[in-house]
Symmetry: C2
Subunit: 199 residues, 2 copies
DNA sequence: CCTACCGATCGGTAGG
DNA sequence: CCTACCGATCGGTAGG
């Protein structure tokens, strides 16, 4: 029998599970993630892993949550103190390119992969992924609007159209980097962003 | 014991299996496809299904092949007899938008989904998906070059850059349509293509 | 956090 | 194309 663990130790174990899950899921997908593999790689029993979450869906939701936190730390938070509107847009797009260049996760952008995996399914995981995707696009749209108001983007700019095109450049970067290992892709993404957001 | 089937009947059954597999895989992914589910939905035994392919990987490859054939029929073949270069590019981009608008597959573009699913894996399925993706981009690039040569696109056009941006618009259309059911997305895609390829 | 176990399902095979 | 079956693994539970 294992000795009783402190709350801190329990939370640390939980964090280890989630981190490993995130790395596995970025390659195999959230459905390809299995309790047995997780237990094996962490040197634990399946029951020990599952005890922290109850069900696989709860584990998946914890992984989505951790991915959102990591993404926030690695992209928007790295933008630094730049003004809202166009300066923010340019900085956050550059932060996105840099995030994928750094290869923080072996499978590239977790949310791009999760969006493709769950877009045809239903349930809490789909809903969580969709909600976070919406948040990200809302953030972009807010700053596009401010840029237009400030006169930094043409007054006839359609914010939804620009968000659509920015998203396209981002999705393409993940695609070219992950599927084709195209090392020229980051430069192409930067050039495309420059064309959309001015020099 | 079932009566002996003719070659034609055997091929018909095989085709039924592949078609159903394609519909399932476009939603659940090629890994989420299972022999048991397939057998159940087709009213066959698992052995009856698997007998046509031998292994699950062979079935997956047959599905990729069928998806490629269907894609060719539904996109490049619908372009009609338009001149190579810029006219072809405009027509094939419009055919792509129309293809996704028609919702031929419940999960959207099969290759976009398969690319995201297999970009971190290795093996014959990954290789097949990657090769078809490369073919598609090569086709686009060939016509971009011709358009430049013909003087229909600026002489300083970087073909790989334009292919990258065209791919971004395509990936974004699938993303907005599948994940967000955004019915305005096709119009945004058309507008983005127009901006990239002239009015 | 463990051992021991559950029914269901996985891909695949033998034999006809 | 079927029945019958294989070992492995799935998510999850009981009980401690």
């Amino acid at each position: 029998m294992s000795p009783r663990k402190s709350v801190a130790e329990t939370q640390h174990t939980r964090q280890r599970i989630v981190e490993r899950s995130l790395a596995i899921a970025s390659v195999e997908g959230l459905e390809g993630l299995t309790i047995g593999r997780l237990a094996n790689e962490l040197g634990m029993s399946k029951a020990g892993v599952l005890g922290h979450f109850g069900t696989k869906v709860s584990l998946q939701l914890a992984v989505v949550d951790a991915a959102a936190t990591a993404f926030t730390e690695e992209v928007p938070r790295r933008v630094g103190d730049v003004r809202p509107g166009l300066p923010y847009l340019r900085a956050v797009c550059e932060a996105w390119v840099s995030y994928l260049e750094r290869r923080s996760l072996p499978g590239g952008c977790f949310f791009t992969a999760a969006a493709a995996e769950f877009d045809g399914r239903s349930g809490p995981v789909h809903d969580a992924v969709t909600a976070l995707n919406a948040l990200w696009q809302r953030d972009l749209r807010v700053h596009v609007r401010r840029a237009v108001t400030a006169g930094d983007l043409p007054s006839d700019t359609d914010p939804d159209q620009l968000v659509y095109e920015l998203m396209g450049v981002m999705l393409a970067l993940n695609h070219f980097l992950q599927l084709q290992h195209d090392e020229a892709a980051p430069a192409r993404a930067r050039r495309a962003f420059r064309r959309l957001l001015g020099t």
